[in-house]
């Protein structure tokens, strides 16, 4: 299941949409009979990690973004 979350990092919109729909339908089917706490918990932890990740990498990313902008400028200059 976590594989699908990593698939979000692929820059293809239709694929992402499909993955999104799949995750939701899958979770729905999973919890239909009874709540599956363990799986839910794991997944939530995982998602929490993803969301938290940005928070942490924000500082680094700021630098990266600057670099990116600079390189863009360079490209336009060239």
């Amino acid at each position: 299941m976590t594989l699908f979350f990593t698939l979000f990092s692929i820059s293809d919109k239709s694929l992402r949409a499909m993955v999104y729909a799949h995750i939701i339908s899958d979770l729905k089917a999973m919890n239909k009979a009874g709540r599956r706490e363990k799986v839910n918990r794991e997944l939530q932890g995982f998602m929490h990690g993803i969301i938290n990740d940005i928070e942490k990498s924000k500082g680094e990313r700021g630098k990266v973004r600057l670099d990116e902008e600079r390189s863009d400028e360079l490209i336009t200059l060239a």
């Binding site: 979350f5 692929i10 820059s11 999104y20 993803i50 990116e68």
Partner: protein
Amino acid sequence: MRNENHTRLYLYTRHTPSPTTAIILTHPNPFRDSLRSSQNDIGARKCVDIACELYRRNIWTDDRTVALLATATLSPNTSIMTRAIHFFLGIESVMDEDKEREENDEWEGVNDIDFHQHSRKTKKRQNQVLKQIANRKKAQMRREKKKMEDGMEENTPNLYPAIEQLNNPQGLAEKLLKKIKNSASNAYKFDQKLTILNFVTRLVGVHELLVLPLYPFLTRYLGGHQKNVTNILAYVVQACHSLVPPDDVKGLLKTIAHNFITERCSEEQMAVGINAVTAICKRVPSLLGEDDDHDDDGGGAVVDMEAFVRDVARFSRHRDKSVNVAARGFVNFVRVTHPKLLQGKHRGLVGAAGVKEGIKPMKYGENRAAVGVEGAELLLEYEKKKGMKKKGKKDDEEEGDWEEVEEDEEAEESESDENEGDWKEVGEKEEEEGEGENEEDDEEGAEGDWEEVGEGEEDEEEEEEGEWEELEEKKEEKKKFKNKPKISRKERKEIRRARKLGIPLEDDSEGDEAPTLVETDEKKKAMKVRQEVSSTRIFSSEDFEKMRKLAAREKAIARDPRLMARKKRQEAKAKGEQGEDDSEEDSDESDFDDYSDYSEGEDDIGSKHIIGARDIMALSKKKKLSKIERLESIKQGRDEFESRRRAGGTTNTEKLRKKNFVMQSKSWGKVRSTANEKQTRFNGAGQRGAKRQMGKMEKAGKRRRK
């Protein structure tokens, strides 16, 4: 997991990654890392979306999901943050909508029956139709039942709002506030800032948090020409609750008053401002009560509440309707809560009564502990009265008289113990009777206790005793009502004797019942009774309902002098013709409904409901047309009243309808005739017909004779 397999298959077989992706994934690229991280953002965004969607579908509704989204609200990525915030702000309404739509769809599906009107009717189809009809009936029943339940009481939601499931609302609110406070001016767009503000104030309002730096921050946004002021004012109202110290809110109030409630503002602004002030005062009741002690020398804006209230009240005669209405709303509110602040002319009947009674809002941090169940003593009184009347109806007059005499006597007895001996005898008789007849009664044990206590205390405290008696007596009555009382001859003698003693005292005790407004003794007594009743008796839900109504009535009466007068009149009337009339009792019952409106305003703003801009919006009015618009409309002319849209003359019915009224009397064929005329005409025809018939018969008879 079959589904998963399917997806995997799809991924492997059908999906060919776009060339760019392939390049990115395979080649070492200097931009790859940066792209990754931005794609990570996408992943996180999708995670938030998934969590929201699963919550919406009622799959993941636990607090872990909520916690997940709470961390998302603190995300540095604005799009993730706004998504999460929007979730907290609006998920409930979205879910409600979903539910409603689902129900409607279901109903429409059931309602749409194929009767096979245009196809062959086979047995199978017929059965199908019957089944569908039965289904529809069932669904309809369900729907109606649900509607009834909705009307009866607000159905408890099966899910708490997401915002209430938060773990650490205080921390979250503070962090978010810090974020918008410290951020550079262009870090967030104005809309985003507003959403964050909305969320923070919602948090503060719902969880009753104390985030004091919020209020000065909000004043920054309360300029007269601010964009979306109505929304911001709504947030301000949202952030106020009864635990906020009034000094902090006063600054806000002052800014609103300066920027909105002045003559130079537009009418709409004024109305919105006044509405906001009313709402704030409703939510922070201690705000109005602060005026008495002007001891805030230090921080906090000093606002003279009395002057402020009077200023606002003056707008209640403003020429603009929306301002007028808003100001009146404010005045009405002050009348009920702290009428002393208003000028005499604005107080009105209710306010004047309130001043007399000394109504004041609670101070900040003040708390009034409840003594017993509200209205318990009123219930007692009510049941006493009712029992009396029922009795009077059932038994013969003498017994009815006896009842009241006995009661009066006992009531009297609590004040002076002249007739103590007499009373004791009666009381003991009753006791015996009560215990003898109702062994199986489950109240018996309690009653026995009372008796003991009552007797023990008799000698010591006379006042106490009176109250016990009241309880006792009521119980007794109840029992007697259950199983018809058989009163022995001996007892009757006793009664008569008691009556002789009781009659001269009757007026006295009755007079005591009608309370003047300020009678602390009376109040204290009532409190005592209330406490005792509510600690010794088990109330049924009906009792609670009745008590609620009675308490509401009592409050209304205390507030409204007209109602008070009515009550007095009724009492006098009841005294005049005590006993046999049950009509009065009926009116007593029906009275309940009237007073329900008077019960303390439980409107949306007062409690911690969500406040929208809609709640404090100015009353919308029809705008006057400009001259050009008016001219244009005149040119267009009106076509609504043009009757003739066809060729040819008028029809006969039209002629009839349009006939001049004065000419009608001279009309050839009467157009209008009274019912009486019609009747006579009809009768005449009938008689003529009958005569003709008779004539025919006579002729026939003659013929026969010939």
